[in-house]
Every structure is written in structure tokens, then in C-alpha cells.
């Protein structure tokens, strides 16, 4: 039960601690200013891209048109060709992810403060990771398609290159979070630094790395379909071909195929990841 506070008391409290009762004017003005700025920015953006209800309405009409063309989806009699292309996309994602992880492994160790305790080295390497991370795999794919030609190889390179830096950073962070006691046990037995990394650090971080790898594989299956569209082969290439020649029923079939595959992969990978932390293979 609460007892009411007398008016005098209240007044005294209000005078003594005004900040408890009303926020300072400056803070309130700042909040309102921020909200107003956000809405202004949103309104300006919509105006800038010529957004209007009529355009949405027209677009919806055309979309309905397309959907009618899409139904019923059809494999165009070349189901196995699509399946093969899908496999190619999965392989592209898998290879790209694994290559990225393998390259990132030594980089991760180098980037960890507790492995190379030189802050200048650490700082420049980490900034390097961050900078290269800014380039999306789609950009890399465009570059590699020009460099090594169309096909899945360009896709693998694009995925690998765009993920190496993120992996390096994540691996470095995992390595920085290892338990010191376990490492000290190995060191106290006379292990060299490299041996300590192998037997004291690596077993601790391996499950974390594997879990990151799986998570990125999930995402890369999705990116790999997009990469196909810019020429890196696989199911994306099939899809863009069908759309280009207005074969909407086949396009719909391919889209459904992608949806199912992605869902299956996500599900499997999530299950494996949750099991991993407990039951990781000993390395």
C-alpha cells in the first residue's frame, strides 16, 4: 500500500529535485528536434523518388498481371537442368564459404590481441578487415566475372573474398575470448607459442568458428542466387534468363525452388549450430 504524499512535501521535493519531475527543457527540445528531423528526411526521400499512391496502384496492377502469367508454375520440362543449376549454386556458396574460412583462419590468429600483442599491428589489421568488408559480394562478382569469365568460379571467388574479412574479424574476436586458464595449463607444460595455439586455443575456438561458417553458408546460399544473375552461373542465371524472355511460369518455378532449398538449408544449419557447441568434434 502506498500512502499519499502531502502537498507540502511534494512541493519541497519538486523544488529540491526538479529533474525527477520534468526532464530539462534542452533534453526535451533535442528529442523533438530529432523526431522532426527524421520525419522531414522520410518525407523528402519519398518526394525525391517520386513516390505516389497512383504509381503504387499502377504497379500493383502490373504485378497482378505477372502473377497471372506465373500461375501455374512450370518446370518447362527441364527440371533436372534446374536441379543441376541449384546444386551449382549450393556448391558455389559452400566452396566460397569454406575458402573464406580457410584463408581467414591465419588472419584471425594474427588479428587477435592475445596472439600478437602489438597494438599498432592489431589496429592496422583490424582497420584493414573493416575497410575491405565494406565491398559487397555482388560488386566482387561483377569484378570477377570480368576477370575470370562467367561461371561459378567467379561466384566462388566473389563469396570468398567478400567473407574473408568478416570471418577474420569474427575469428579474431573468438580467439580473444578464450579462457586463459586452459592456455596456461598448456604453457606450464613447456609448450611453444605455436603449440599453445594449437592445443590450448584452437580447441576452444573451433566450435565457434564452425558455427560462424554454417551461419555464413546459409546467407551465402541466398547471395549465390543473386550472383548468378550477374553472370556467376547457377540457378540465378537460369532465373534471369527466364525473366528476360518473359517465361514467367518457369521463373515462378525457379523462385519456389530457391525458397524451398533456402528453407531446408536454414533449418538444417540452425539445428547443427545449436548442437555444435555441446557436441563439437574434438580437434
Amino acid at each position: 500500500m502506498t500512502t499519499a504524499i502531502s502537498a507540502d512535501r511534494l512541493k519541497a521535493l519538486q523544488q529540491a529535485h526538479p529533474q525527477v519531475f520534468t526532464r530539462p527543457l534542452a533534453a526535451r527540445l533535442r528529442d523533438w528536434g530529432l523526431w522532426a528531423a527524421c520525419f522531414a528526411l522520410l518525407g523528402f526521400g519519398l518526394w525525391w523518388i517520386n513516390a505516389s499512391p497512383t504509381r503504387i496502384w499502377d504497379g500493383l496492377g502490373k504485378l497482378g498481371f505477372l502473377v497471372r502469367f506465373m500461375w501455374p508454375p512450370s518446370d518447362g520440362g527441364v527440371f533436372w537442368e534446374h536441379a543441376y543449376a541449384m546444386m551449382e549454386t549450393l556448391a558455389m556458396a559452400f566452396l566460397g564459404t569454406v575458402v573464406a574460412a580457410v584463408v581467414a583462419l591465419p588472419l584471425g590468429f594474427l588479428g587477435a590481441k592475445n596472439v600478437v600483442p602489438n597494438w599498432l599491428f592489431h589496429f592496422s589489421l583490424r582497420r584493414g578487415f573493416d575497410t575491405l568488408r565494406g565491398i559487397d559480394s555482388l560488386v566482387w562478382a561483377l569484378i570477377f566475372v570480368s576477370a575470370v569469365g562467367m561461371g561459378p568460379f567467379a561466384g566462388v571467388l566473389a563469396i570468398a573474398v567478400s567473407d574473408v574479412m568478416v570471418f577474420s574479424k569474427l575469428f579474431a574476436e573468438a580467439i580473444e575470448n578464450v579462457e586463459r586458464k586452459q592456455i596456461e595449463g598448456v604453457r606450464s607444460a613447456g609448450a611453444s607459442p605455436v603449440q599453445t595455439l594449437r592445443l590450448g586455443v584452437f580447441p576452444q575456438v573451433f566450435p565457434v568458428m564452425l558455427s560462424h561458417l554454417l551461419y555464413f553458408f546459409e546467407g551465402n546460399v541466398r547471395s549465390a542466387t543473386i550472383l548468378g544473375i550477374v553472370g556467376a552461373g547457377g540457378i540465378g542465371l537460369q532465373l534471369s534468363d527466364r525473366i528476360r524472355i518473359n517465361n514467367w511460369d518457369e521463373a515462378a518455378f525457379i523462385i519456389l525452388m530457391i525458397l524451398v532449398t533456402v528453407a531446408v538449408i536454414d533449418n538444417l544449419s540452425r539445428r547443427i549450430r545449436t548442437k555444435l557447441i555441446d557436441a563439437a568434434p574434438q580437434v
Binding site: 579462457e179 586458464k181 586452459q182 596456461e184 595449463g185 598448456v186 604453457r187 606450464s188 607444460a189 613447456g190 609448450a191 611453444s192 605455436v194 603449440q195 594449437r198 592445443l199 590450448g200 580447441p203 576452444q204 573451433f206 566450435p207 563439437a280 574434438q282 580437434v283
Partner: protein, 277 residues
């Protein structure tokens, strides 16, 4: 023979170890006691060189330990095996591999990268595990064992280092009385059968009295007592534990072993003890 000559170690403002001189003849079992922060751990870590050297000299068979580096330093670490309060096993490796880490000082780097150890090393590990009644658990992951079992794995690891010296930093502070007794028994047996010097930090008086030939008392980084257990009088105890002494120094209060239980009888049945853990 290990000799510490006026060693001092400071961390910033704190003097963790203050002008300590001690002599450890081979084969002795020494208990180091003292309040938290007295510098016991630091002393052991200085000997094993896990802590960087401060002032003073540490001599082992006329080699200056303080100046060792690289391969020699690692060889020295292998020779003075370390046992920790928290066991410090690699959780995700199996028991066998954890024990094999004891051979890392003499192993070549490349095979270790593939966790490849010689048949000799594996045999030594198996024998050590058997000695500590842990052979059946050899392929279990280390973190699936009980605390007492983990500490015995750590002792097995220490054993296959073929050490001249075992340094144990509060090996029983994280264990229940039964397991504590069994671990102390194991250390004592190794000390007597293999003539390995054991230097053991202990939180409690009764463990030190029960198992050690000699007790060293530390307070604020200094050695304030050095003698056999029967010369550890009430006054001596008070000088070690200081004002906090008085009531605290009641031996039953500083007990991890359940001081009034007969020690050897219970310790002879490790399986039973572990089943109860």
C-alpha cells in the same frame, strides 16, 4: 635442488613476493600456507616462469632459472610440472590428449599440429592415467569429469612430464573433502615413490600438517615461518594469519579435509569417493 635467493616480485605498487630466500632439497613435500594475497601463487609462478622474473635468483642444480629463454625455458617448465586450483585442462580435448600435453615439451611441433604423439608417449599417458585410476575415462572429454577427476588428470599430465619438481597451486581448494583427500594422497604417493619434490600451496592448515614434511608460512610476501609441521605452534600460526587469526585460526575452520575423519581409510577407495561426488 632448488634454491631461491632473495627473490622479490612487484606488480605496480604491490609487493607480491618480498625478499624470499628458500632452499628445497630433493624429495621433500613442502606446504606453503598463508592468507589470500600473501604471494603464494606468485611464488610458484615465478619458479615455473609463468610470471616474468623479478629481482633475485632462482637456481636449480646451479642453473639460473631466471635467465632461461626459448627452448631452455620450455624444457624447464616441463621439468617443474604445475598443478592449478582450477585444473586448467583444455575442456574440449579428451582426457588422454590433455595428459599427452605433458609431453609437449619434448615433442616436435609438426606432429603436435596433427595431435600426433608417439606410441611411447601414449603408453606413458596410459600408465599415468592408470596410476590415478582414470584409464576408463581416457577418451572422455575433460569437462565431463568431476572436479576431483579433473585434478587427477592434471596430476597425470604432470607425471608424464617426468618432472623433477611438482608445483601445486591450491590443488584442493575447489574440491570437496573426499576428493581433496584423494588428490593430496596421490601427490604424497608420487612424492614418496618417485622422489619428486612437491611444493604445494594450501589454504588450510590441516592439509599441510597431514601431508607435508615441511611447512612454509607466508605473510605479505615474506616468509614468516619455515619448519616441520610439529614446530608450527599457535603463535607461529598467528604470525602467518595475522590479526584475522584469533578465531579463524581454529583449525577446524580452516579445514578442507574434514579434519576429524581418519584420512587414509577413505582415500584408499577412489571409485567410491568419486561415485559419491
Amino acid at each position: 635442488m632448488l634454491e631461491l635467493r632473495k627473490i622479490t616480485k612487484t606488480f605496480g605498487q604491490t609487493i607480491a613476493v618480498n625478499n624470499v630466500s628458500l632452499n628445497f632439497p630433493p624429495g621433500q613435500m613442502v606446504g606453503i600456507i598463508g592468507r589470500s594475497g600473501a604471494g603464494k601463487s606468485t611464488l610458484l609462478r615465478l619458479i615455473n616462469r609463468l610470471a616474468t622474473t623479478g629481482q633475485g635468483d632462482i637456481l636449480f642444480e646451479n642453473t639460473n632459472i631466471g635467465t632461461l629463454a626459448g627452448r631452455d625455458l620450455r624444457a624447464w617448465r616441463a621439468r617443474c610440472a604445475m598443478i592449478f586450483q582450477q585444473f586448467n585442462l583444455v575442456n574440449r580435448l579428451d582426457v588422454l590428449t590433455n595428459v599427452l600435453i605433458g609431453r609437449i615439451g619434448t615433442a616436435k611441433t609438426l606432429p603436435v599440429m596433427f595431435k600426433h604423439f608417439s606410441a611411447q608417449d601414449r603408453a606413458a599417458a596410459a600408465l599415468a592415467l592408470d596410476r590415478l585410476d582414470l584409464l576408463p575415462q581416457a577418451l572422455q572429454r575433460a569437462d565431463t569429469l568431476s572436479g576431483g577427476q579433473q585434478q587427477r588428470v592434471a596430476i597425470a599430465r604432470a607425471l608424464i612430464q617426468n618432472p623433477s619438481l611438482i608445483l601445486a597451486d591450491e590443488p584442493i581448494a575447489s574440491l570437496d573433502p573426499r576428493n581433496a583427500r584423494f588428490v593430496m594422497e596421490a601427490l604424497r604417493k608420487i612424492n614418496q615413490e618417485d622422489r619428486i619434490t612437491v611444493i604445494c600451496n594450501l589454504h588450510t592448515l590441516d592439509a599441510a600438517r597431514a601431508y607435508c614434511d615441511r611447512i612454509v608460512g607466508m605473510a605479505q610476501g615474506k616468509v614468516v615461518f619455515d619448519g616441520s609441521p610439529d614446530t608450527l605452534t599457535r603463535q607461529a600460526v598467528q604470525s602467518i594469519y595475522g590479526d584475522a587469526g584469533d578465531a579463524d585460526v581454529e583449525e577446524s575452520l580452516t579445514s578442507t579435509l574434514g579434519a576429524h575423519l581418519p584420512i587414509p581409510a577413505a582415500a584408499k577407495q577412489p571409485q567410491l569417493a568419486d561415485a559419491a561426488y
